[in-house]
């Protein structure tokens, strides 16, 4: 069986290379690593840009904010100028400060599309600023405690690495296995395999091994170029391997039931969208309905983040590996049955 596996693996590697799958994966990995390192900023402001007109005596707000690093071009010198600027920049808010330090009043000019949360945050920020300038203590008197030693905030561009790593591995694995299966069906080469001593296990293992290798090449390049050597590569490799095999088995299981890639297309889109939904939770962690946590890619993307940007959280990897192993076992049983009954047999 080992000899046959090696033989099939060699053949699948040749097919993957000659189908330009490896080229696509390498290109994608370098482009994404380049985007993360050089194009996507480290900090992205997702709230509207505040523009000011400081009409207070001695312009106390303007002086203080410029001292704190705010760009000078965000200040205007009349109401009309500010109105015009807010009108022109749809992602901005206008703030007019009037009165003196003791009795400052603020007027906010809104676009009308801002959420109440944004207004509340702005309100709290201005109130806090007033207290600081007046040298008053925080009236609310709240404190903050951390579960673990505080970790460095993750830059916005680097925070995308787990997303592009997990979801691209999922997408590539799923599509490549499907293309390989449909190519074998279309060429009829699968019929020749059916009348050889080759079995189901080595057939599945070979495909899974090749796609996992592609996943590791892709993941390795991205992580190496964006995070360097200082991370736990062993844990990362385990997660990529288990995720790749899982998605390969899923793609295999599904593709054997379709005659060609056109019929498979809509089912594939549905699966890929479902697998990608946890990216929403990743970007907005407070949104994590229970159904989403059941999607296999959900714990993986957070697991990868923990490996890449360790917060000191302990014991997260072992349960995740067990879950992935269990999912792999279930899908392996299902795909073996499907390959034996549907792919390696004909008709009725």
């Amino acid at each position: 069986m080992l000899k046959r596996f090696v033989n099939l693996f060699n053949q699948d590697v040749k097919v993957v290379i000659r189908n330009k799958f490896l080229t696509v994966v390498l290109l994608l990995a370098f482009v994404i690593a380049g985007l993360i390192n050089f194009v996507i900023p480290e900090d992205v402001k997702i709230t509207p840009k505040e523009l000011f007109f400081d009409n207070t005596t001695e312009r106390i707000w303007e002086k203080e904010l410029i001292k704190r690093g705010m760009e000078i071009d965000r200040f205007y010198y009349s109401r009309d100028e500010l109105h015009k600027a807010v009108q022109e920049d749809k992602n901005s808010l206008g703030i007019i400060a009037e009165g003196s330090l003791e009795d400052t009043t603020f007027t906010i000019i809104r676009q009308g599309t801002e959420t109440q949360e944004i207004i509340n945050v702005l309100d709290a920020t201005l109130e806090n600023g007033v207290r600081e300038l007046r040298n008053l203590e925080n009236a609310e008197g709240f404190g903050v405690e951390f579960l673990r030693s505080r970790s460095e905030p993750i830059p916005f561009n680097k925070n995308l690495i787990p997303v592009v790593l997990v979801f691209e591995v999922v997408m590539l694995g799923f599509l490549i296995i499907a293309v390989m299966i449909f190519q074998e069906k279309q060429e009829g080469s699968i019929r020749a395999y059916r009348v050889s001593p080759g079995g189901v296990l080595e057939y599945i293992f070979s495909k899974a091994a090749v796609i996992t290798l592609l996943g590791l090449v892709y993941g390795g390049i991205i992580v190496l170029l964006t995070r360097g050597f200082g991370i736990d590569y062993l844990s990362l490799t385990i997660l990529i391997v288990l995720t790749s095999t899982l998605i390969t088995l899923m793609g295999l299981l599904l593709s054997v039931f379709f005659r060609n890639i056109s019929e498979f297309f809509f089912a594939a889109i549905a699966i890929l969208i479902a697998s990608g939904i946890p990216a929403i939770s990743y970007m907005y962690p407070s949104f994590a309905p229970p159904f989403m946590t059941w999607i296999p890619s959900y714990p993986v993307v957070f697991g990868v983040r923990e490996i890449l940007f360790s917060t000191g959280k302990e014991g997260f990897l072992a349960p995740l590996i067990w879950v992935l192993l269990l999912e792999n076992a279930v899908l392996f049983a299902a795909s073996s049955w499907a390959v034996r009954r549907k792919l390696l047999k004909e008709g009725r």
Binding site: L8, V15, A192, V195, S196, G198
Partner: protein, 284 residues
């Protein structure tokens, strides 16, 4: 010995049998031809015999062992050549054979030698996608004998080949028979069946219409005839006379005496004519 007994197969599950009550035996070292038009049930029978299709009803026995009980080792003993070339188009001819050889647990032939046997040595390093249909057909044939099979299933092995290459393939089939290989030859080409087969079975609409050696079938069902071409005015006319028929014999004699004869050929019935006689339809 291969024994197929009362074989039935229903693709629809509604009692519409593609193959009905098919029974025949094949002796070791025999070339057995399975003749019939498209859709007659030839491939269904072959697919059941090779394990590609599940056995529904009846029996397929290899030396008394059912195809149902065969393990994967069975495939070390057989070779299958498909009518429609099914190769890895991204691999070269050599790589296709090398890969396939690697699937077997028995000693296999050298791919280079096989490519030479079927005249593809110069195209060994070309991708299969660049092969012509005939070249693909030869490669598929070469692949079927890579494991030195005891039983060879050939589906239209000379289809799309030029006469010279077809002759090479036929020679290889004959040489395989000489080494004791049993050949199950599925075809609608009466000439290759007549030339190669020890016995042939006619299959039509899923049922066997006749089984015997080509010679016996001709003797049993054929009529000896003579084809005469003669000049009539400015045109050339041809007529066939069955000399066992008294009326035809008289007409033939009159023609010889009264006309200017251009050609006379004696002819025996072809397998196709016998097939038509037995089934009411042609082989194509």
């Amino acid at each position: 010995m291969i024994s197929v007994k009362n074989l039935y197969h229903d693709y629809t599950g509604k009692g519409q049998y593609a193959v009905s009550d098919v029974t025949f035996t094949i002796e070791k070292g025999e070339i057995f031809g399975f003749l019939g038009p498209s859709g007659a049930g030839k491939s269904t029978v072959q697919n059941i015999m090779t394990g590609l299709l599940e056995l529904q009803k009846g029996a397929v026995l290899y030396d008394s062992q059912s195809i149902k009980d065969m393990k994967s080792e069975f495939f070390n003993r057989i070779g299958v050549s498909f009518e429609h070339p099914n190769l890895y188009s991204k691999l070269t001819g050599y790589e296709n054979l090398k890969y396939y050889a690697g699937l077997f647990d028995v000693q296999t032939e050298d791919p280079v030698k096989l490519l030479g046997m079927v005249g593809l040595e110069d195209a060994a390093n070309k991708r299969a996608s660049e092969y012509s249909k005939g070249m693909k057909q030869r490669l598929v044939f070469a692949r079927s004998i890579i494991n030195n099979p005891e039983i060879l299933f050939l589906d239209e092995p000379t289809s799309g080949l030029d006469p010279s290459t077809a002759s090479t393939i036929k020679d290889i089939i004959v040489s395989k028979k000489k080494t004791g290989c049993t050949v199950f030859l599925t075809t609608h080409n009466m000439f290759i069946a007549d030339e190669l087969c020890d016995r042939v079975a006619f299959i039509n609409e899923g049922r066997i219409a006749a089984i015997d050696s080509p010679r016996n079938l001709k003797l049993q069902y054929g009529q000896k005839s003579v084809k005469v071409e003669y000049k009539e005015g400015d045109s050339i006319t041809g007529e066939v006379f069955f000399l066992e028929n008294e009326k035809d014999r008289t007409e033939f004699n009159n023609l010889i005496a009264s006309r200017k004869i251009l050609t006379i050929h004696s002819q025996e019935a072809t397998l196709e004519q016998i097939f038509i006689k037995l089934t009411g339809r042609g082989l194509v």
